[in-house]
Amino acid sequence: MTLETLLIVAAIIFCIGLYGALARRNFIAVLMSIELMFNGVNLTLVALGRYVAPYAVQEQLSAVFTGQVFAVFIITVAAAEIALGLGIVFAVFRSNESVDLTDAAALRH
């Protein structure tokens, strides 16, 4: 398993997520796509932390796990974000009776 493979997989996951976030009309599907994008990024961080960082900063042990630590942070933040996002979805569903993202367009000019 090389760094390259990992980065390509991460990019594919990110792009699938991006496509979903931009193209899907279902609110929940968009949230799920955003999770995919997060995970794509997480994979990049972990992979780079695994393959690149130890050579870059050999002397400082604390810096070796930077990428992994970041990934853990992102997982928690993503969990909080999804909780918030679902709250918004419920609020929108209550007023719109739909989870179609294109219907929630009241905040335009």
Binding site: L18, A21, L22, A23, V30, L101, T102, A104, A105, A106, L107, R108, H109
Partner: protein, 678 residues
């Protein structure tokens, strides 16, 4: 003994009176209004005593020139505050405080019961203080401040009854027209200011009046010769423009007849005796400067003489008694200017002195008549002689003095002017001087005519109904009620508080001329040396111009012309066909219409210059510029931001996914650019 602080007191007392009335008495309410009158009278009474004492203690023509207080030091030119006491100032002080005192006493009766009694006296005090400050000023800028202050108080007093539209309009007109002249005065001051370095090189201050005299005198005559040639002419014309505005000289005379909308005592004091004479005073003050420029003197002489005749013709056709007097004032001021122009400095100031008394008297008489008849329109007067004999005889004295009948005050001064212009010894060419003489003689004839007409229509014949009748006629004709006319009539003599000041002025109108004592009759005038007043004026000048000896032929001619004028008026109005209701002069047809319409000069100014040139041309262009260019730029900015905003707002479509799409596209562009060029 001359004490500076006592001279300052003449000026500061009315200032104090103004502040006291304005800040204390007037807020206390109408119950204390009478006090305002007493305060003003006391201030001016003391001022008058001090002025007479000042005149006595400097009776030999000493010139005192104090400039102790520095106001602003502007490099070489400094604006200082001080006193210039020369014969001109001393006599002006006596005239201003004396006439003002009489008018204030008279006003106690005339303004009695007016709801703004205290305000009236506050303004009157302000005016007196400004006028005294004007004649005392030693610095041009100091003078200019008071010059504008008298203009301001004149504005306030003309518009005293500001709820009358005519009064408000007249006040505005007076203010604007005099301001046109004042621009000339201001330009003259600015010119002097820019010459400050030249003045300083000779150790002179460009704004100090005696230094300006010195600067204008040519080197040959012991002066500095700094201002000469064309600049001197323009300097004089600038000063004369200011003087012409203030003194109602042609073509800036139109404000003075309208100024009669103010209370009659105001007309007597400000628009007859003192303020309008400020223009003559200004030219007199700078006479040593004018005297160096023949061209400027010619302008002054010709404008003065022309005004004297021109205004007298206007007096022929006016029906408002105060307007007749106003034109007469303009005409007499023309005499003074003409006299200054032909070099008769002392005769001009002598006429200013006598004119102040008899013209104030005539105006107070007009006020007294108005009190009785309720109107100023002479067509509704008549026959008042029996009802008010005191006013009648005093008015006759004033009228004869105005006409110039021997031996009243007006005769001596007018005779002196005629004599000097006949002798042609001044700086202007003899032909100009003789032309002025001829014009002034025509003026005498016209003066006699309109003065008799005024006396006849007011006092002789049968009473024609007064204000009540005038209001009735206006109602019948369906016209709005004329302003200032009231039903209030009581055909009888005015109260003593009004008649006594008129008596004092009447006495002055008889004897004021004897102060000059031109004949030198020692037995009657034992106290007064020959030519005293005229020589006194002349002693203020460096090259004292001496009064010529009295000339019997000129006196006979001027009296004969005056009597001829009266005779013509008698033939027109009294005998053989006495005046009833129709104006005999209206048989003059278009000529009379021309006079009654005041040569259409008001129409020219208001209709053509203001209406067409200003409103329709200058104002229209400015309006167009404002609407299209100024507003256009503002509008364009608004339009641009609104439309650019609209353009940007298109992106704000409310679709959540559009925003990350744009962000992603932007990110992609950055990445591609980085990969391609990074």
């Amino acid at each position: 003994m001359l004490t500076e602080s006592l001279v300052w007191a003449i000026f500061l007392l009315p200032v104090a009176s103004f502040l006291l009335i304005g800040l204390v008495i007037r807020p206390l309410g109408p119950a204390f209004a009478k006090t305002a009158g007493y305060v003003t009278i006391a201030a001016l009474g003391i001022g008058f005593i001090l002025s007479v004492w000042l005149l006595r203690s400097s009776a030999h023509g000493e010139v005192y020139d104090f400039a102790p207080y520095l106001w602003l030091g502007l490099g070489p030119a400094t604006i200082e505050v001080g006193l210039l006491l020369d014969p001109l100032t001393n006599v002006m002080l006596v005239v201003v405080t004396g006439v003002s005192l009489m008018v204030q006493i008279y006003s106690m009766g005339y303004m009695d019961g007016d709801e703004s009694f205290a305000r009236y006296y506050a303004y009157m005090s302000l005016f007196s203080a400004s006028m005294i400050g004007l004649v005392l000023a030693v610095n041009v800028v100091q003078m200019y401040v008071f010059w504008e202050l008298v203009g301001l108080s004149s504005y306030l007093l003309i518009g005293f009854w500001h709820d009358r539209p005519a009064a408000a309009a007249a006040a505005k007109k007076a203010f604007i027209i005099t301001r046109i002249g004042d621009v000339g005065f201001l330009l003259a001051i600015i010119y002097l200011f820019f010459q400050a370095d030249d003045f300083a090189a000779h150790g002179l201050n460009a704004l100090h009046i005696p230094h300006i005299w010195e600067a204008a005198a040519p080197v040959a005559a012991g002066g500095a010769g700094i201002v000469a040639g064309g600049a001197l002419v323009w300097l004089c014309l600038g000063l004369f423009a200011g003087a012409a505005g203030k003194s109602g000289q042609f073509p800036l005379h139109t404000w003075l007849p309208d100024a009669m909308e103010g209370p009659t005592p105001v007309s007597a004091l400000i628009h007859a005796a003192t303020m309008v004479a400020a223009g003559v005073f200004l030219v007199g003050r700078f006479f040593p400067v004018f005297a160096e420029s023949e061209a400027a003197m010619m302008v002054v002489a010709l404008i003065g003489a022309f005004t004297a005749v021109f205004a007298a013709t206007l007096g022929l056709a006016a029906n408002d008694i105060k307007r007749v007097m106003a034109y007469s004032t303009v005409s007499q001021l023309g005499y003074m200017m003409a006299a200054l122009g032909v070099g008769a400095y002392n005769a001009a100031l002598f006429h200013l002195f006598t004119h102040a008394f008899f013209k104030a008297l005539l105006f107070l008489g007009a006020g007294s008549v108005n009190h009785a008849a309720g109107t100023f329109n002479m067509m509704y007067m008549g026959g008042l002689r029996k009802a008010m004999p005191g006013t009648y005889w005093l008015t006759v004295i004033g009228a004869l003095s105005l006409v110039g009948i021997f031996p009243l005050a007006g005769f001596w001064s007018k005779d002196e002017i005629l004599l000097e212009s006949w002798l042609a010894g001044g700086p202007v060419p003899a032909s100009i001087s003789l032309l002025v003489f001829a014009m002034l003689l025509v003026g005498v004839l016209l003066t006699a005519f309109y003065t008799y007409r005024m006396v006849h229509l007011t006092f002789h014949g049968e009473f024609r109904g007064g204000g009540e009748r005038e209001l009735h006629d206006a109602q019948e004709a369906g016209q709005p009620a004329p302003t200032g006319v009231s039903h209030h009539m009581h055909l009888g003599e005015s109260p003593l508080v009004m008649v006594i000041p008129m008596g004092v002025l009447g006495f002055s109108a008889i004897v004021a001329g004897w102060l000059a004592n031109p004949i030198g009759v020692s037995s009657i005038f034992g106290l007064i040396p020959s030519h005293w007043l005229t020589e006194y004026f002349a002693s203020g000048l460096h090259d004292g111009h001496h009064a010529p000896p009295f000339s019997i032929p000129i006196a006979v001619v001027s009296n004969a012309v005056a009597i001829a004028g009266i005779g013509l008026a008698v033939l027109t109005y009294a005998w053989p066909r006495p005046f009833t209701t129709s104006e005999p002069l209206s048989r003059g047809g278009p000529l009379h219409t021309l006079l009654a319409q005041r040569y259409y000069m008001d129409d020219l100014y208001e209709g053509v210059i203001v209406g067409r040139v200003f409103y329709r041309t200058v104002a229209a262009i400015a309006d167009w510029f404002d609407r299209n260019i100024v507003d256009g730029i503002v509008g364009l900015l608004g339009w641009l931001s609104r439309n650019i905003g609209g353009l940007i707002a298109l992106a704000q479509n409310g679709q959540v996914q559009t925003y990350p799409l744009i962000a992603a596209a932007g990110g992609l562009v950055i990445i591609i650019l980085y990969l391609a060029f990074g």
